[in-house]
């Protein structure tokens, strides 16, 4: 007895067998023939890259105080494809006080339709099947403490992203020196740009297998190259001195209604810059990169901009003559008040005829005629050799970007005339940067060695510390010449520049007043007033002050010297230097 027809059962079985064969063939095709294609697709959608951002190094002063540092904050993003429409109001109301934004703005942002990120042009659709949406930025710079609170709310589609921002614990201190960083934390100016590679460190990355939400698959494969944190850059700048100098510069701007102020303080023994400032300045904490005028202010003009040094240059001319033993402090010349060179008259600044004058008096009176007399003794050959040896006409190679080389026209250059030698001797017709001038003066202060100026003392990285030692470029003058000239300059301060005198201390200094060239002629009332000064013996610092177009008085001795005096007075206290006249005998 048989229940059903075996023939029909066989037919049904046969149909099922054929279907099974078709299915097996299809699976074999997918898994064996097209395997590589699908494997490539799988790799394409499974592997994700996550950038590991290094921590940007800090900029510190010479004692380690923070001047610029990076702080982690959060950026709040919305993936609107995941935000549920009925939740928008609730999310907006909850987030508004946390991110300090109006509720309406958040509602608008959250209601933005999701924009799918499509595969790049030319890429075949289907080879890239990940669905990701552009994210809307709801808020930025959310404090590090607020981030976890937002995270804890657990709103679907609301995401947090770490965002590093630069903070300045000392406010606007040393703005041009520090410089600025862009939104991407890349240095754009100042130390931030010049030392960007050290500060930035190296970005690392994680290659990982991810799920459709972009999250990492547990126990998936991953490849990690660790981020290398940025190094701290320790400056030679002293926070106290920089603050002092910044304040003095601001005060001078107001007091003299000046167009600009530049102050540099340098350690002549090492070439370390202790403070450096220029005014007007930009606001470090709120840089405005869209305003071309504001951009101008970002430049560190103490290094990048040139001017005619004027009478300050006379001490260098004197140094040359002393070094060549052409004169000594008591050598005299006859000053008639004017001298004719190349068919043009050169007169003293006060028009006075000083008669028979010693070299010391030449400097005290700042006699142009005397400087010309010295240049005649030296001759162009020797004069310009010394000018170069003092570091003019070429960069000092300070470790800052954009340094100007200065401009010196010598007897070997076309267009030069003996008249140029005469005016160069008292600082006209020659262009220098403040950093060049203070470096040259430092050579007088330190016994004759030209030091290479620098602002970076150390770079402290995760893999070690690099220290920058003082670099002697060359010896320009002898110890003896230096000592002689320093003593002469004491007279300059005490008798020529009463406003720079600090009772009890021996200071060497020299003022300068440069007429600004307007059009083709020197202007009488528009000047650059400047002053350099340092403690005569074992000077721990040289101060250069420069005021552009002061409106109350145009003279360096009257405008720039009091600023320098105010700074020196406090530096003497800061360095605990006892007055020279109370030094116990036998030690000094």
């Amino acid at each position: 007895m048989r229940g059903i027809s075996l023939g029909r059962l066989a037919t049904v079985g046969g149909v099922l067998a054929v279907l099974t064969l078709i299915l097996t063939a299809r699976i074999g095709y997918l898994q064996l023939v097209e395997h590589e294609r699908y494997r490539a697709m799988a790799n394409d959608e499974h592997w994700g890259v996550m950038r590991l951002e290094p921590h940007r190094g800090a900029i510190r002063d010479r004692h380690g105080n923070l001047l610029a540092a990076s702080v982690a904050t959060y950026r709040v993003l919305a993936d609107t494809s995941k935000v549920k429409p009925e939740q928008i109001t609730r999310i907006a109301n909850t987030l508004a006080p946390l991110v300090n934004q109006p509720v309406e703005k958040l509602v608008t942002a959250l209601a933005t339709p999701p924009q799918p990120m499509l595969p790049a042009d030319g890429q075949k659709l289907g080879d890239n099947t990940k669905i990701t949406y552009k994210k809307t930025v709801l808020a930025e710079r959310i404090p590090y403490t607020t981030g976890p609170k937002i995270e804890a709310l657990g709103f679907l589609g609301i995401e947090l992203e770490r965002e590093n921002v630069r903070v300045y614990p000392e406010g606007n201190l040393a703005a041009q020196l520090i410089g600025i960083v862009g939104r991407d934390q890349r240095g754009l100016a100042g130390i931030e740009a010049d030392y960007n590679r050290a500060l930035a460190g190296q970005t690392g990355q994680v290659l990982y297998e991810r799920d459709t939400t972009g999250a990492e698959i547990p126990l998936g494969m991953r490849g990690v190259s660790q981020a290398l944190d940025g190094s701290d850059v320790v400056l030679t700048i002293d926070r106290y001195i920089q603050r002092l100098v910044d304040q003095e510069a601001d005060a001078a701007m107001t007091r003299h209604k000046a167009d600009g102020v530049t102050i540099v303080v340098m350690n002549p023994q090492t070439g370390e810059i202790l403070a450096m400032t220029t005014r007007p300045a930009f606001d470090l904490t709120k840089p405005n990169l869209n305003d071309p005028k504001a951009q101008e202010l970002i430049r560190n003009r103490a290094v990048t901009d040139m001017y005619e040094p004027g009478s300050v240059f006379k001490i260098l001319t004197m140094a040359m003559a002393l070094e060549e033993k052409l004169v000594n402090p008591n050598t005299t010349y006859v000053d008639r008040g004017w001298v004719r060179k190349w068919d043009r008259d050169i007169v003293n600044w006060d028009g006075a005829a000083n008669g028979t004058t010693t070299m010391t008096r030449l400097l005290v009176k700042s006699a142009n005629v005397g400087a010309v007399w010295l240049s005649d003794l030296l001759g162009s050959e020797r004069f310009y050799r010394y000018v170069y040896d003092f570091g003019f006409g070429r960069p000092t190679n300070i470790d800052l970007g954009g340094e100007a080389a200065g401009q010196v026209r010598t007897h070997n250059d076309p267009g030069w005339s003996p008249f140029d030698l005469a005016t160069n001797s008292f600082g006209q017709g020659i262009n220098v940067t403040p950093i060049q001038l203070i470096t040259a003066v430092s050579a007088i202060a330190n016994g004759g060695k030209l030091m290479q100026p620098h602002v970076v003392k150390q770079i402290i990285g995760p893999n070690g510390t690099r220290t920058f030692d003082p670099v002697i470029v060359r010896r320009v003058i002898s110890e003896e010449t230096s000592k002689t000239l320093r003593s002469m300059m004491v007279e300059v301060v005490n008798e020529g520049t009463s406003r720079a005198v600090i009772p009890g201390y021996r200071l060497s200094g020299k003022s300068g007043t440069t007429q600004i060239v307007t059009g083709r002629a020197y202007s009488d009332d528009q000047t650059i007033a400047s002053f350099v000064v340092f403690p005569t013996d074992n000077a721990p610092f040289v101060v250069l002050t420069r005021v552009d177009r002061p409106k109350d008085s145009q003279w360096g001795g009257q405008v720039a010297a009091p600023i320098a005096r105010s700074i020196v007075e406090r530096l003497l206290a800061y360095y605990r230097i006892p007055p020279d006249n109370v030094k116990p005998g036998g030690l000094g």
Partner: protein, 395 residues
Amino acid sequence: MTRKRADYVLLGTVAVLVMVGLQALYSASFALAMAEYNDPAYFILRQLIFAVPGSILMLAFWRIPYEVWRRFAFPVALLGGLALLLVLIPGVGVNVYGAQRWIQLGPLPALQPSEFVKLALIIYLAAWLADRPERIKSVGGGLVPFGIIVGLMVAPIMLQPDLGTTTVVVVTAIVLFYLAGAPSTFMIAIFGGIAAVTPLLLAASYRSNRMEAFLDPWKDPLGNGFHIIQSLIAVGSGGLTGLGFGSGRQKFFYVFGSHSDAIFAIIAEELGFIGTILVISLFVLLGFRGFRVAARCSDRFGALLAAGITTWLCLQAFINIGGITRTIPFTGIPLPFISYGGSALMATFCAVGILLSISRTTTQPDAEEEPEPADDPLPAGPRLAGRPRQSIVET
């Protein structure tokens, strides 16, 4: 009627399928379970909760003489029909992913009646067809009532909507009608009718979306085609040997329903062509042994019931795997014994229990056990006696 040893090869095949299925389910579901329930064992535990009473039910049905079902065929069908109607009542039925397929009874896990209805309909149809061997050959006594019975049972399933289950039920019913001796003209009429109705079925938007996704998934890889493409990537990236058990990537939310309807994609990804061939072989063996039980059953009801159950299980496996591999359009039905789903697992266990019960009562002589009887009353018997094994080789 004599009782013999049941078909232990069939039992063993099912046991291996369930074991492989539980392993595969754990691997395929832990990521989703972790993400949605914070418990990697969420799905596997619930599957085990159904597997234990399911296997007890199987043992019980094995011991119950299958003839009982002939007597209770109508009440069973009625109960199934009522359960299907319950699903559609709001408040009792539970809607998941836009389909109304489950009943929630108190604290008990949700039940999916359509899984049991498939078995109930096969029992009822087998009994109905066995009762009237000659009348079913007429239009009024066969074709029309057959259409009405199937239509009544399928209508509520279509309303859920559940195209996959509808297909399985309808095709299994037609196979039973054919095996019971329906004239070939009826078959032509039925297939003609289905061909006429198909465009209507395609009108339902989600179904035609599926048709589009089937025809060209790359047209909309991030939308309509996403699910099928992700399944293909899983299958294709498996290659010959697979990524290794547990090492699949596509279960991390790339493949939709990786623990349920699309579990085969994960098996293919992790175990490769070797694994897929193993799973398909197990179903082939199940089909072969099931048809062998049908062929050897002297009782018309038992033979139809065995053939119906076997056809159902094999067809459902084919539609599932065919959908995952884009061999046919995708319809959401579970892979028997393997996919997550307690109702389906219990229903299939019951069906296998009945199949085992039928295998115990075959009177068709087994060459290894007893000599072939000489007096076979059916004229077709001797002619075909030596052939069943070679004619039902591959299923």
